[in-house]
Symmetry: C2
Subunit: 435 residues, 2 copies
């Protein structure tokens, strides 16, 4: 497709007509005039595939060639922009995106798993064939964070980027705080409401947030996508008690994805965090996503909006398509793929921070002395201890907040503490994050 042709006609091939795919087709059909006015191009869906051809999706399929496979859509000679909305990091999604790029077609995708695992390969293919690979919808749904990083902050060096990248987790944590209910109970509700999948493990286990973080990291630091180096912890073990204690201590628990660069390398991690109540990110509730970028020149930029949903996600897909209509083809991760460096990952045990520790101990003399001695021996200094015994209760929770220490040291101290007879459950540790 030449530059001048791109100004006049985009012929989209769509693979996947689920929630987002259907949203994209509806938006394109419903906003034809506006789309043409604002992009200067005629944009239409000329080919499609999905699991079930006959399903009524509420829009006309006139003018679309139906294909039996995503690869067939990607290689349809009539298609000049391939839009992948199947999902998953392998199978037809992988095969079709690869085929489209190798056939010199621009690609738009909302597939975070795919970019997180194959982004570096795709970046090279896109460069080789001089086509765009746009993936705005893959991170934080409708929020234009990819565009903001690639273009708005073009000349900034990112010090740290972090955010609430999974709406399901944020919803569950918000409801747990509001109602005092237990995790399992709220998860079930979230499933009934359609905020969590039948198999929720990707969401609550932090994998989904990690996919998104891997993409942001690569973009922020010009490195190869390095999903495997991400330290991942989900929210499954957060208790109503932790949430109540957080509040009492002036914090709120959020599942954050955090990427940070230091002289030693790049750390990427997804885990529950204690964040101070007065920080913007602490006040982002329910399914809303937020991304915070700290840079050298700009300082701090915060973007907040819907992280999922049919039309917010479709809106981002269409913005990506509109960029192609405007003739914008830029390096996938902000620099030529051949210049992308390996990530230089920092291991989690080198992390330095404050920690919240919840212990469950038998209520007998000497327990506190043992615990505090272990911490002292490892050089961990304590900021706060809360123990509230209750008449006739055998086991009591002990809450500790530490000053800054290295995670390897913290882990050693926790191993010693866990070994005491009086400690009846594995210690629970949540990192306190200075955001």
């Amino acid at each position: 497709m030449s530059a001048s042709e791109s100004k006049t006609e985009l012929r989209l091939g769509l693979a996947g007509l689920g929630t987002v795919g259907s949203g994209v087709v509806k938006m394109i059909q419903d906003t034809q005039d506006l789309l043409q006015e604002r992009t200067g191009s005629v944009i239409s869906v000329v080919a499609a595939t999905a699991r079930d051809k006959k399903k009524d999706r509420g829009f006309s399929m006139d003018g679309m060639t139906w294909h039996e496979s995503a690869v067939d859509v990607a290689t349809d000679p009539n298609v000049n922009v391939f839009v992948e909305l199947i999902g998953g990091s392998d199978g037809p999604a992988l095969d079709s995106v690869r085929a489209a790029l190798m056939n010199g077609k621009h690609v738009v995708t909302a597939n975070k798993a795919l970019i997180a695992l194959h982004g570096s390969e795709f970046a090279q293919l896109a460069d080789d064939h001089n086509v765009a690979l746009n993936y705005e919808a893959s991170v934080a749904g409708g929020i234009p964070i990819i565009k903001s990083l690639r273009e708005g902050l073009v000349i900034n060096q990112v010090k740290r980027i972090f955010g609430i990248l999974n709406g399901t987790c944020n919803y569950i944590l918000s409801v747990m705080e509001e109602t005092g209910r237990a995790f399992d109970d709220v998860l079930k509700d979230a499933q009934d409401l359609g905020y969590a999948e039948a198999d929720p493990s990707f969401d609550i286990g932090g994998i989904d947030a990690a996919h998104k973080l891997a993409i942001l990291t690569s973009l922020a630091y010009g490195c190869e996508v390095d999903f495997d180096s991400i330290y991942i912890e989900g929210i499954e073990t957060i208790s109503a008690h932790d949430i109540a204690m957080a509040k009492e201590l002036g914090y709120r628990i959020k599942l954050l994805g955090i990427a940070e660069k230091s002289d030693a390398g790049i750390s990427q991690r997804v885990h529950p965090c204690f964040v101070k109540l007065d920080r913007p990110i602490a006040n982002v509730s329910d399914v809303t996503n937020a991304v915070v970028v700290d840079t050298d020149y700009l300082g701090r930029l915060v973007l907040e909006g819907p992280g999922a949903g049919q039309f917010p996600t479709a809106s981002a897909v269409i913005a990506d398509i509109a960029d192609i209509a405007r003739g914008v083809t830029q390096p996938v991760f902000m620099k030529p793929a051949r210049d992308l460096k390996p990530g230089a990952a920092i291991a989690m045990d080198q992390h330095v921070g404050e920690y919240y520790i919840r212990l469950t101990a038998r209520d007998k003399p000497g327990v506190m002395a043992e615990i505090t001695q272990d911490l002292a021996d490892e050089g961990v200094s304590i900021e706060t201890i809360i123990q509230r015994g209750a008449e006739g209760v055998e086991n009591v929770p002990i809450i500790l907040v530490t000053h800054k220490c290295q995670e390897s040291v913290m882990n050693r101290a926790l191993q010693r503490i866990a070994a005491h007879d009086a400690i009846v459950r594995p210690p629970r540790m949540i990192r306190i994050e200075d955001v």
Copy 2:
């Protein structure tokens, strides 16, 4: 400049080397390699002008041709992108931007007053000469709100756009709340700290915020820039007492710029607002800016960041330059200038909302009866009344919060109330905004 030439060399002509202009030159000089890597272009400042040639600005002027006037820079044949950082809506800023566009040069500017007053004319000139006019830095400093609207939300229809668009006002209101100090006192501090100008009237009077709002409105609604239709009220009359009362009632006072579209037309207004404490915008403090966009497809997007300052603003200027380097030339206000419609302004007295009213009355029998009768006669219904008499004090404040009513009705009621002998000062009214 042809498309292929634009990929290789941008020769900038800079008019204005004050805080922002110097920041732009320093950033370009300090990030040459990164800038080239990320834009694929060689970008350099080849010509400049400023009030004082000899002043030491902390960077080398080697390779720059010095001109005596901004128009000379704009028309220098060696310049292909003109960067206007002089400021002001007339004089050299106006003349030079006009000259640059008419000479077929791309223009980047941080000048909100200029775009607010001459944006429609410039949009036509840019279209006629097929050049870009980028102005990201003119609204909310480093926040990529223009890019988000023009590109990220390309196919969304904006229902309402509003924000904290003036850092000086937000700083003053934040400090007044924290300290309980009076407006004049805090303003003086802000001037000493460099957060407010020696003549602060543009900031505290709401004019600066209105310039920015005019630009956002035009972009959001595809209409001609219509600064003159904006209703503007500043923060000069906000008292420490109002701020304390707001808190007591569950609100915070913010100076907001708000543009909203209804069947009747477009309303644009800048004035202090009561906003509920739990809304994101209520928690944006000090000099930080924030913009909230409510749209049909995406829903709500919030952007928050530094609204001013040398490098945040320069960062936005350079993002605009990088877009030109990538060959992006799009309509200034998202559609061809010839298609921009007049704004169809809605007058302020048609506004419907809740109101906070502060009265100062002689503490004598019957006052409350008179006031409430006036309100009843005009059909204004009261949600809250607070009157706290104090022993031996002659005049007492009376605080009223109304239910929703039309502003013309509210004004009539206030005129009647003001006419009573017992009312010793003009009533103070602040709008309650449901954001």
